[in-house]
């Protein structure tokens, strides 16, 4: 049972445009949602998170939106830069268990 799903394996955008990465989840007990970024031959690095009591969190060029009724979250990157090219993982956790569940990842390519 895949509790966190990223249905788009890849995304390609032009430099300067907006990148939108999507994620769906099934477990209504999740109370924190996170995005991680991974470059080849490196471990994932934390990018941004959002609590389930919020619907938006912004950090510079990165904004995460949460739609609890649809069990959907998205990551917006504006403007996209070539250095943003990486694999992005959506993840979710129930804070009282501490178990972090990852999606399958979306490979973002930002073309110069």
């Amino acid at each position: 049972d895949q509790q966190v799903k990223q249905n788009s394996p890849s995304l390609s955008v032009q430099e300067g445009r907006i990148s939108i990465l999507n994620c769906d989840y099934t477990n209504s007990m999740f109370d924190y949602f996170l995005w991680y970024k991974k470059y080849p031959a490196e471990g994932p690095t934390f990018l941004i998170s959002i609590s389930s009591i919020k619907d938006k969190n912004e950090d510079g060029r990165f904004t995460v939106f949460l739609n609890k009724s649809a069990k959907h979250l998205s990551l917006h990157i504006v403007p996209s830069q070539p250095g943003d090219s990486a694999v992005y993982f959506c993840a979710a956790v129930t804070s009282n268990t501490g178990k972090l569940i990852f999606g399958q990842g979306t490979t973002l390519q930002v073309k110069p």
């Binding site: 979710a92 956790v93 804070s95 178990k99």
Partner: protein, 114 residues
């Protein structure tokens, strides 16, 4: 501040051989995780430690995998005997208890079983 350190970075072994991976977490991080990442997939939790205690090992294949975290700091993950399907990247991560989901990952240990 040093990050999570893992070794070895790469390991190639024959099937049925044993292998061990080592992890040194960030100083002061009481929670340590071992994740498995297959090609094209997201990381999957194998085991989570709170200090010395394994609080979630439900996904660890205990017939061939074992882990330990002596003194609540470094950790070792062992596979004996290795099978072809164990070829993957083994990621170690650590975190502070008061930051839900914010894990700091090492670079991973890539295992190839021939």
């Amino acid at each position: 501040e040093a990050g999570v350190v893992q070794s070895p970075r790469y390991k190639i072994i024959e099937k049925k051989q044993p292998v061990a991976f080592w992890c040194n977490p960030i100083s002061g991080h009481n929670t340590l995780y071992w994740y498995l990442q297959n090609l094209g997939q997201g990381p999957e939790l194998l085991i989570r430690y709170e200090n010395e205690e394994a609080v979630d090992d439900s996904q660890l294949p205990k017939d061939r995998f074992s882990a330990e975290r002596l003194k609540g700091v470094d950790s070792t993950l062992k596979i004996q005997p290795a099978e072809l399907g164990d070829s993957a990247v083994y990621l170690c991560a650590s975190s502070l208890r008061d930051s839900p989901g914010e894990l700091f990952f090492g670079e991973g240990s890539r295992l190839t079983v021939l």
